[in-house]
């Protein structure tokens, strides 16, 4: 936990410094007749972020915070595997939405999550894998008129568009 606390503070400090540098692309000082420049607000705030992350770091190194005293691991191995699996599945699902579209990605995600992580029966898994995309289609595409990404499956939807839109 202590190492995680220190590492997080360092990463956040670097990120804050990057934000300061990035904000400085716009004027950070006073622009005559326009008030503070466009970069001023984010610049000074990220300066504050840098200061507070350094403050966190100092406290962590001195062992003042509860996390820096804790000897518990940041992740125990069991939950690390589980969380990594879930995050991995989400990443793959979102990435595949670009390619096989929402209606390809959702069923695959359900099959992975319910069958492999949850160990549910095929009947339960498949019913969720089929019903969720259908509900999503009718709610978002028909009622809300929001076109979700479909990737290569786009042509399959032409007949549906003809019927509902």
């Amino acid at each position: 936990m202590r190492r995680a606390e220190i590492m997080m503070a360092v990463v956040l400090a670097i990120f804050s410094a990057y934000l300061m540098w990035k904000s400085a692309e716009l004027p950070i000082g006073w622009v005559p007749d326009r008030g503070p420049g466009g970069g001023a607000f984010p610049f000074w705030l990220s300066a504050g972020m840098l200061l507070s992350s350094l403050w966190i770091l100092v406290r962590a190194l001195r062992g003042v915070t509860a996390q820096s005293q804790s000897t518990e691991p940041y992740f125990d191995s069991q939950s690390a595997v589980l969380v990594a699996l879930v995050v991995g599945a989400l990443t793959v699902m979102i990435a595949s939405m670009h390619w096989i579209g929402v209606y390809g990605a959702i069923p695959l995600f359900f099959v992975f999550y319910m069958k492999i992580i949850g160990r549910h029966s095929w009947l339960q898994t498949l019913s969720f894998a089929v019903i969720t995309p259908i509900v999503t289609f009718f709610f978002f595409e028909i009622l809300l008129n929001i076109t979700l990404p479909k990737g290569i499956t786009e042509p399959l939807f032409y007949p549906l568009y003809d019927i509902f839109l």
Partner: protein
């Protein structure tokens, strides 16, 4: 009486068939979300906000507020049946609710929670109706300096009263504000903080992307990790007779419920405090006031009534600053406020003048929502108990899909879905190290307003910071805000002095 006529007009709006239908659905969904361990009002409102684009703004906010309310009722269900708070706001309900369930009095505890919630909700809505119009009237004269001062006050409450690690709280506020600055600069129109020249950053970071990331994806990851073990659902014997008997017993709790409602309401007004500390404080007060404090923690019905009335009252309390001042009183109301901007309404005191139908429709719907939440809660106790037995491996993927599609809907840009995933995962990792998340969400919602009011004030004053201190209203507000920011310093000094004394003696 002006207020009464407005309120009656509001009821006309709230009782329109569609709005009434939305209140009922909202309460049911809220109860369901609240009952699920780990998910509370803020998660429900964040995940379901994109769904409300289908209806007009008044109906949308009525629906979301019904979810807010329902979740406050529902939180008690898993606190009592599982001994795990259904939402952080129901933590104090476990103290006596769980022992009551273990003793076979689960039905009594559930009824007490529902009635106390109704009581707290109703008292606080009446207070709200009385206080909101005058406050909005006062706030009408506020200029940009006052607006900025109020936001400082909101952030100050997190530092001074939030109770989390101070530098981590400050970091959370600041990163939220910086994220809100991404996009095109409002005054010069120049692109700003466009990372790696990715086009998706030009439209800025929608607050919903952060809110769904943290309260949807991050929260589920958190729940997956913390709820791995098997949980034991208590048995509840539910029959009409037993419910009626339990209702009769609630007479004893009236004093506790009034106390809980008042404590909850006033604590709820503060952005950093809200329903969780409000309900814990109410529990503490009930215990001190009681003639038999030892019975608390062993299944005293007063110990269920106090926090449950307080957390509902707090949820109404947090809406008062949101509607009248445009400063949200809780993370949930921050998301509602962001929603109002998406719907094209300008939050702040002008709402009471320009959007009377919206404001009063909402207020009236709170009365209606309370009633339905109570009825649904008592009528469907068995259903909610069944909900608790649903395996999380079914609910989690459904919620993930809702998050992904809901994150895509507002801007229709895959870029935002990726950002949401990143925020969710990073937010979860930070939360494990006790970085508070609520200030960040509040900050990203208030950020654009904070920046424009700061720059406007400075432009008018010619760059002098004194403008915030000199004006008659903003001066005292800034003063209080500064005190709150410095409160931890005073506390630390006092602790050091006490420690010094102790070592001398």
């Amino acid at each position: 009486m002006d207020i009464i006529t407005h309120l009656l007009d509001g009821f006309v709006v709230a009782l329109q068939p569609m709005n009434l239908f939305l209140v009922i659905i909202g309460c049911a969904v809220g109860l369901f979300i609240g009952a699920m361990p780990g998910l509370g009002s803020v998660n429900g409102v964040a995940i379901l906000l994109p769904v409300t684009f289908i209806v007009p703004p008044t109906s949308a906010i009525i629906f979301l507020c019904a979810i807010y309310y329902g979740a406050m009722y529902g939180g008690a269900i898993s606190s009592i049946m599982l001994g795990i708070p259904g939402a952080s706001t129901a933590v104090a309900t476990t103290f006596d609710g769980r022992p009551m369930a273990v003793q076979g009095k689960a039905d009594k505890a559930l009824v007490a929670a529902a009635v106390a919630s109704f009581f707290g909700g109703t008292i606080s809505v009446i207070l709200f109706t009385a206080f909101a119009p005058p406050l909005a009237h006062v706030a009408l004269v506020f200029g940009s300096a006052e607006e900025f001062a109020l936001m400082m006050l909101a952030f100050g409450t997190f530092v001074g009263l939030g109770g989390d690690d101070i530098p981590k709280t400050i970091f959370s506020i600041l990163i939220g504000l910086v994220l809100s600055a991404v996009g095109l600069d409002i005054i010069s129109g120049a692109p700003r903080l466009i990372f790696g020249d990715i086009s998706g950053f030009y439209h800025g970071i929608n607050f919903l992307v952060l809110a769904i990331g943290i309260y949807g994806i991050g929260e589920i990851l958190w729940t997956i990790e913390s709820s791995r073990g098997e949980v034991q659902v208590s048995q509840a014997v539910v029959s009409v007779q037993r419910i009626l008997a339990a209702l009769k017993e609630m007479g004893k709790c009236i004093k506790t419920m009034i106390m809980g409602s008042l404590v909850g309401y006033f604590v709820g007004l503060l952005p950093a405090a809200g329903a969780t500390p409000g309900s814990i404080m109410a529990y503490g007060f009930a215990k001190t006031m009681s003639r038999n404090p030892k019975s608390f923690g062993e299944g005293n019905i007063q110990g269920v009534a106090a926090p449950e009335s307080a957390n509902n009252a707090a949820s109404t309390g947090s809406m008062l600053p949101m509607l009248t001042l445009g400063i949200p009183g809780s993370p949930t109301t921050a998301i509602l406020l962001g929603g109002m901007v998406i719907w094209g309404l300008e939050p702040g005191p002008r709402l009471f003048v320009d959007q009377t139908e919206f404001v009063w429709g909402l207020i009236a719907s709170l009365y209606v929502a309370n009633l339905f939440a109570l009825l649904l809660n008592v009528a469907f106790i068995p259903v909610f108990i069944w909900v608790l037995k649903l395996p999380f491996t079914i609910l989690a993927p459904v919620i993930f899909i809702l998050c992904v599609v809901g994150g895509y809907a507002p801007t229709q840009d895959m870029h935002d879905v990726w950002l949401m995933l990143i925020f969710g995962v990073v937010g979860y990792l930070m939360r494990k190290l006790d970085y508070p998340m609520a200030p960040m969400v509040l900050a990203i919602v208030l950020g654009p307003l904070a920046e424009s009011s700061l720059r406007q004030s400075l432009l008018l004053s010619g760059g002098s910071m004194m403008v915030f201190v000199e004006r008659p209203i903003s001066g005292p507000i800034i003063g209080v805000a500064m005190l709150l920011f410095l409160l931890p310093v005073f506390k630390a000094l006092k602790r050091r002095r006490d420690a010094g004394k102790a070592s001398e003696g």
